[in-house]
Symmetry: C3
Subunit: 394 residues, 3 copies
């Protein structure tokens, strides 16, 4: 279950919203119990506080269904509009249309249940994300920075101010760690790696030598960055079918604001680097092969594999378990459906799919034979069409 702040630490709703990064967002606060409402803070900021809601303290975030009176919830999917009436959340973040609908519903029914306050925002999901980030920062505020005595740290590593290094981590020679970065327990940071400021490596991340990671990275446990790619030259001189290893001299270059999921692997380049752009988000158990280049702000869901030397553009969205062959170009802003296999270039901006839908097994059995003879089926149809055309002629 979600953690809650102690009552003494819980901010009032308006304080929470002021403390939240709301840059770019327009929002206002409505007091459904009849008080004055705050809105997007003016330059001074102070006037935004709603005296009437001063006692509405927010200790955490919850779902509409589970949140209590000291929690804030959000509504971004119209499907769940009806849950507003029954939620026990103290406040709910939602869109202007949803807020209006709720107020109309309250007026029509004469009921007064539901949340005490509405936080109305044209981008409720984004505001919810930002509020969540405040809580996450707050819950880490009591963590003590420092280097655990059991960590094994090379004397020539350069460790920035305020860095945290967990128990039994290993930091090899030549490593640079930027200020405020946190290296989890059991992480292994190979020689000559560089980790940017305020990056967070969860426990047991492994970096091979010479990996460069930008600022504010978030890397999850079990990720392995910099293993050799899969490259071999056939070499049957001694034994038929044997292989000779292609050594990997390249590195991995990871931009700023990248998130990398649990047990994901990113291989180093053969001679050049494997490159992950700024703001790229990789889910768990993704495989990125040698010399792949992923453009800025591309997001890839779990279990996807990308073969060697493929280039993926910016702002591409790839569903889970997609499989992309080697030496392929995927343009900017492509949307690739989950479980789709790609063996040729994809033009920018397109949406691509290749799924065999699941059906009842008996139905599949009836189809499977036809599937194996599709080419023949097509030829038989063409023959019939010719016959038919001939018949029409006569």
């Amino acid at each position: 279950m979600p953690i809650l702040l102690a009552p003494a630490d819980a901010p009032a709703l308006a304080e929470l919203l002021e403390a939240t990064d709301t840059s770019g967002l327009t929002w206002h606060l409505e007091d459904l119990t009849g008080g004055a409402a705050a809105s997007t803070p003016d330059a001074a900021g102070a006037s935004a506080r709603s005296a009437s809601l001063a006692d509405l303290r927010v200790a955490g975030i919850g779902t509409l269904g589970a949140a209590g009176p000291t929690e804030i919830a959000f509504l971004s999917n119209p499907r769940y509009q009806s849950q507003l009436d029954s939620t026990h959340a103290g406040a709910v973040i939602l869109s202007p249309a949803m807020a209006d609908a709720h107020k109309a519903s309250l007026a029509a029914s004469g009921r007064t249940d539901g949340p005490r306050a509405l936080v109305v925002c044209t981008e409720p999901y984004l505001l919810y994300a930002r509020v969540g980030q405040w809580f996450a920062r707050r819950s880490r505020a009591n963590d003590i920075a420092g280097i655990h005595p059991s960590a094994v740290i090379s004397p020539d590593a350069v460790i920035g101010d305020g860095v945290t290094i967990g128990p039994l981590a290993v930091i090899e020679a030549g490593v640079t760690i930027g200020q405020g970065a946190r290296i989890g327990a059991g992480c292994i940071i190979g020689k000559d790696c560089a980790i940017g400021e305020h990056s967070l490596l969860h426990p047991r991340v492994t970096l091979y030598d010479r990996i460069r990671i930008g600022a504010r990275a978030l890397i999850h446990s079990g990720a392995v960055i910099g293993a050799d790619g899969f490259g071999f030259a056939p070499d049957s001189h001694t034994v038929k079918g044997a292989y000779s290893k292609i050594e990997h001299f390249g590195g991995v270059m990871i931009g700023d604001d990248v998130e990398i999921g649990a047990n994901t692997t990113i291989d180093r380049g053969v001679l050049d680097d494997t490159v992950i752009g700024n703001g790229v988000k990789l889910d768990d158990q993704i495989m990125v092969a040698h010399n792949v280049r992923i453009g800025d702000h591309t997001a890839i869901a779990a279990c996807t594999g990308i073969a060697g030397s493929t280039t993926i553009g910016q702002r591409v969205a790839i569903g889970g378990a997609a499989m992309i062959g080697g030496h392929i170009d995927i343009g900017d802003d492509v949307f690739l459906t989950a479980s789709t296999v790609v063996f040729s270039n994809l033009a920018a901006g397109g949406r691509y799919t290749g799924i065999m839908p699941a059906v009842e097994h008996s139905e599949w059995e009836r189809n499977a034979v036809a599937m194996r003879h599709l080419g023949r089926l097509q030829r038989r149809l063409k023959a019939l069409e010719k016959l038919s055309a001939k018949a029409a002629d006569t």
Copy 2:
């Protein structure tokens, strides 16, 4: 090769069967060398021993093909019935029908080779499993419980009686470990986790903070439980296409008797927990996303991915490399074929499949074009049918 007990430690066959948990099973022992046979022990138990087989000591389990005279084998697939004649196993667990067939075969041929003893049981595979569990427990009996001095354990962790903690494990603050649990070398147990009694974590399991695991869990190396799910709110206010992180405040709640395979990942919930029911069995390299709920006694084979907020019922069986989309409901007792992709709800009790069968490449090439024009093929067929119907009318 399988390990064998030292001769002095090897129990007599009847002793082995008495020591085995045979609850629920009916079995009897037949001495093919002509002595009296034991059967399911009576209340006293002692009468079950077969004096004639007292010297048949069982040091381990083997296959019919490889077991020697001090090993027990099993036969559950009728395909391998003929191996009974040639096995060197001292004893074989098998069904009554298979036992009868073997005895008839011996009588007909006049031969006396094959095993000395048959252990006849209506569920031979289950009895074999139970006998194996006895050997596994026996082989661990000499392990010394205790906490390795190199482990880094928070002074406020609560460690039960008889707990084993391996070298270089990390146990963070607030952790509770139930009695008899074993934590392997290099495991990292995050803050406020709870691990149930007699659970076994193999080396290098990683638990993030606030993960709850029931009793008798078996978790394999490289498993990562509690990483953040993959959630982002689009946030183009500063940079086009950028994302803002959805923080994950939920936990992971794992029931009793769960097995989790090597390098499997289970992400924590966003606000609520990700939930794994009692008796669930997960193979290696499975990905369970945030807020997934898996019902009791569901078994999932390797490389399967389950996207966020999907609910899987009880006693579901999922083949390897299946891929299940997000926000989907899979009913109880569903059987999902390996490598099948699921993007819609599946009704309880059904069997579902969606596989493109592998064929010779040249055949596939002939089919591949047709595959890309299936819709057109269907429309062309419909047109022909209309023509044909019209022709029939005239």
Copy 3:
């Protein structure tokens, strides 16, 4: 970016080629600046040096596009022939035909740019691999062998000469490590394992008990070898649908010259061993289930899963993300296309494919309905064919 040797350490080109293992290869060196050329060294070897190129020192390997005058590049794909003119590489490894084409191009244009030297070889990719191996060995030459004091090593482990064991590795009782082997930081080597001479385990490899690995293995981080396979006997005696564990007593036997990728898992056998032959190459995130047998010199690309008791022949090549069912035989020299699903035996020497090609989503939508009714489509076609035949008869 690739690492370069310090100028003082960089060998002259001819020295580099003499130091390289060129066994089985025929090569010669051409000096495009007009000097005498070396060729495959004679027995004495010394005569092979080209005085004219004595000052061409090679500090590293680069791509044609990125290499500088102290680097060697290679050309094996005719597509990139034109890059020869513009490369700044000091020397280029290439085939006789490509060398001739380049010299003809220089003669025709009268230009003298491009590399100073050509290394002409009938197998340029293999020679490049071998040169790379020399650089890799050279860059490791300064590594200091030795056992890090933070490693936890059982006093009865047998550690060969010149073995390196990294920080915080764990070596359990009964382990044997062959001479010159290197065990990375954080590796965990279970009881009674044996690791062959000159094997390299990168950081954080996990071996369960009783795993045997041959000589010259290369195992990447996060690999887990020897976890239990996925085996359960249905056991509804107490709870409907529950399972009883099949214990795994077998081991894993890995041959010589095997490479295993990052986060790959190889499960131990139930009673017999899981067997990986000599020279097998496994990429990242591969899942090899219990009792699988993989023949010598088979190469398998990333994200492939192989279910239990399947046998794969020698020199098989399997593309990424293939999924192979259990109890299947795949013959020698099979080529299996990436992302192909296999549920039946594959005859030796064949090439097999089963991919649903990715298409534009709108096209896929038009096809998807037809896909679900393929069997019906086939039957409708057959009915039309009958009608048509009947019409032709009348």
